[in-house]
């Protein structure tokens, strides 16, 4: 340690007794793999979001009351627009650095969600959800749901044309809940759409409630990892269940993290200079009764929008309760997707009769159920997402939109099933070739597949 740092440390240590804990932490071992950094990338994005978000909060006005714009932008000179939109215009055009920080914030949110999805995919495919980490996995799913909600609420705060349309659709989806729908919609949105309550409530959710819960859950998520230690990829000659092989926190992991933080900041800033994330001056504020063509939510909600487009015209009333396509596409099907994700670890445990703690990751191609489930679910979500771009695709390819939609309707149903079956078969053949099996043996104990050659004592 440098003398200055040593002095600082001693000052604090002599009052808090940090030395043994610090020694233990600094020498903690972290296994190698670049994909283990995905979660960390998400956390760093969260930090960037909180920092830039705090700055934005100083300028944003959470209200839809009409206000006159008096800034430099000629397009809106002297015009009366909703206060939220006006504050965005002011921040983007009249505050130096405002647009950069707005773009940084939006770009970081995109990266946050993207790396969370990739992280979840990595966990799912390599089996890091296995006992004793199911709790952490479920926590992750909860956090993922919160992140999606946070993103939606965040871009709705801008209150431009696209945001208003999205809020209307969310309101209609709440209405579609059987029996309680109308009341729940009125509670959440403050009455019949559009009310003046929506933006202030979304603001509270976006700035206070969800970030607080998210930060708390992230802390818990990390605490679990610290306690249970990280999983690792199998390595010949090393018993990964008894030992972690890797690099210590100081200096190697710290070096990686420090580089990651700075590099990410630089990448996001470069992206913010080159890509106009969330520039909205030309599209105008939300006015009830108006909508723009090419209406989609942000990319992480494409799968929902795609389902809304594809689920055919269904509406029937049974015992006074109406079930319509919006309910099925907006609530039931997404619920099934999340339900499947939540249930999967326990399903795999049950099917393969797994017991004991697992600390070593597996190749998903060695586990037929996981390969099939992973590819099937993920490809389904990809097709649903692609369906949300149907109007752009129609324009680019020249196929009529009706044909494009039918194409997606068929492929979204058929392709994931076919892909899942194909990869499951491939996985089973792969195991058979190496003379392995996943099935429980006579003794009732199960075998892992990635090279089960010996029994433990």
């Amino acid at each position: 340690m440098t003398p200055l740092f040593a002095l600082l440390f001693d000052t604090v240590d002599s009052r808090l007794g940090l030395r043994p804990g610090t020694k233990k932490s600094l020498n903690k071992v972290f296994p190698h793999h670049w994909s283990f950094l995905l979660g960390e990338t998400a956390v760093v994005s969260l930090v960037i979001l909180v920092l830039t978000g705090t700055y934005l909060t100083f300028f944003y006005r959470a209200s839809t009351e009409p206000v006159t714009y008096t800034g430099a932008l000629e397009l809106y000179a002297g015009r009366s627009v909703p206060a939220a939109y006006e504050s965005i215009l002011r921040l983007s055009n009249d505050v130096p650095g405002g647009l950069l920080f707005r773009r940084l914030h939006r770009g970081a949110s995109h990266l946050f969600i993207a790396t969370t999805v990739l992280h979840m995919l990595r966990i799912l495919l390599t089996g890091a959800f296995r006992r004793p980490r199911e709790l952490n996995y479920l926590l992750g799913i909860v956090m993922f749901t919160l992140i999606l909600g946070e993103g939606f609420v965040g871009y709705s705060l801008i209150y431009d044309s696209l945001a208003g349309t999205g809020i209307r659709i969310a309101y209609s989806t709440a209405l579609a809940l059987p029996i309680v729908g109308q009341q729940v919609a009125f509670w959440v949105f403050g009455g019949q759409f559009p009310t003046g309550e929506v933006i202030p409530r979304f603001f509270v959710l976006h700035v206070m409630v969800i970030p607080a819960v998210l930060i708390g859950l992230t802390g818990l998520h990390l605490a679990f990892i610290v306690r249970q230690r990280h999983t690792q990829f199998p390595k010949r000659g090393v018993d990964g269940h008894a030992y972690i092989l890797g690099k210590p926190l100081w200096p190697s992991q710290f070096a990686e993290s420090a580089t990651l933080v700075l590099w990410m900041g630089g990448l996001l800033t470069a992206a913010a200079v080159l890509i106009p994330w969330s520039d909205v001056a030309l599209s105008g504020p939300y006015v009830p009764g108006e909508v723009g063509n090419n209406a989609q939510p942000d990319w992480f909600m494409f799968w929902l929008d795609g389902m809304l487009r594809m689920v055919p015209a269904i509406e029937f009333t049974v015992l006074g309760v109406t079930i319509n396509a919006l309910f099925i596409a907006g609530l039931v099907l997404p619920g099934l997707v999340f339900g499947a994700l939540i249930v999967y670890p326990f399903l795999e445990q049950r099917v393969y009769r797994l017991r004991g703690d697992w600390h070593v990751l597996q190749n998903p191609l060695d586990i037929p159920l996981r390969a099939g489930f992973g590819l099937g679910t993920f490809s389904a979500i990809l097709f649903m997402s692609a369906a949300a771009t149907s109007d752009q695709l129609s324009r680019i390819t020249g196929f009529p939109i009706e044909g494009v939609l039918w194409f997606f309707r068929v492929t979204t149903v058929v392709a994931p099933i076919v892909l899942a079956l194909v990869v499951t078969r491939y996985s089973q053949r792969r195991l058979a070739r190496r003379d392995l099996g996943v099935a429980a043996q006579e003794s009732g104990e199960s075998q892992i597949l990635a090279g089960a050659t010996a029994a433990r004592d």
Binding site: R79, F233, G237, V291, Q392, R395
Partner: protein, 307 residues
């Protein structure tokens, strides 16, 4: 009876006849083309030239008499040019479809995405003059005044954005129709389109969008087109194009992670291959492969699981 000509002489004669015919044909064609060009360039002007151009480019579908007809190859009916048979007909309409290249069509007249402007401005004016005289097409090509971008945006969002998109980039209208991109059109074309409502587009009368408001819409479109945007030239992104950039950013991030999370070997020690790490005795399990427990864990690459 004279003796038959030798094969060589017959062949030569044949070639000579062929050559003369070809040359004559060429000369005649050149003559015809020259006449046309002359007609176009020198003597003939105004409605007369318009008539010639109409006969060349429009009559095939719309009929020499302007009463319409069957569209060859693509089928369907080309509308009549006479206002009593076709209430849509007006000078503004003609000017619009010709200046945007919608007519005469490059390929299918029903696909409104391809654009190839065939007529220059004077030719256009001539054709309109001709049709005004011959087919009684009413109206005049409207004049466009100054507009106010602010008002233009408001009018745009109320009347136009749901078809042409928030910044006039165009979109889908269903039923095989696309709403074209508008922000690259001249003010003249925009104002004409508003009044005329060509093809699938509804017409907007003066009570709905006044002349001043129409000019403002054109001004707003010009503003939308003139935005510089980022150093990459991008202005606003709709979510679909934004998602493509998110993909690019995600890929860059993944590459960065591989770089950061991988092991850097800037100046590798040439003796490194000889080093064998000592795994603690306790780590060796009593497994049949225990004999390999002391093998170098670096034998297999550690970065990538997938084979």
């Amino acid at each position: 009876m004279s003796a038959p000509a030798s094969p060589t002489r017959r062949a030569l004669l044949g070639w000579a006849v062929l050559a003369v015919s070809v040359l004559t044909l060429l000369a005649l064609t050149r003559e015809a083309v020259a006449q046309n060009d002359e007609a176009a360039a020198a003597g003939v002007e105004g409605a007369e030239r318009g008539g010639l151009l109409y006969a060349q480019q429009c009559a095939t579908c719309h009929g020499a008499d302007g009463r319409g007809g069957r569209v060859p190859r693509y089928g369907g009916q080309a509308p009549s040019m006479w206002p009593d048979e076709n209430p849509n007909m007006s000078a503004a309409y003609l000017d619009l479809v010709m200046s945007t290249g919608r007519m005469p069509p490059a390929e299918s007249p029903y696909d409104n995405r391809k654009r190839e402007v065939v007529f220059a401005a004077e030719e256009r004016a001539d054709i309109i003059a001709y049709m005004g005289d011959t087919f009684d097409v009413p109206g005049e090509v409207p004049r466009v005044g100054e507009g106010e971008t602010s008002q233009g945006q408001t009018v745009w969002n109320t009347n136009c954005a749901h078809c042409h998109g928030a910044i006039g980039a165009g979109g889908v209208a269903g039923g095989g129709a696309w709403t074209p991109q508008v922000n690259d059109r001249s003010a003249q074309e925009i104002v004409e389109a508003i009044r005329v409502g060509p093809f699938q587009m509804p017409a907007f009368g003066e009570d709905q969008i006044s002349d001043a408001e129409a000019a403002s819409v054109a001004a707003f479109m010009a503003e939308a087109a003139s935005e510089e945007g980022t150093p990459l030239g991008l202005t606003e992104l709709n979510p679909v194009y934004a998602s493509a950039f998110v993909g690019v950013l995600a890929v860059l991030m993944l590459l960065s992670l591989v770089w950061i999370g991988g092991r850097p070997r800037w100046f590798p020690d040439p003796d490194a291959a000889e080093q064998r790490p000592d795994i603690p005795a306790g780590a060796a399990r009593k497994t049949p492969s225990a004999s390999t427990a002391r093998s170098n864990p670096r034998d297999a690459p550690s970065e990538d699981l997938s084979s």
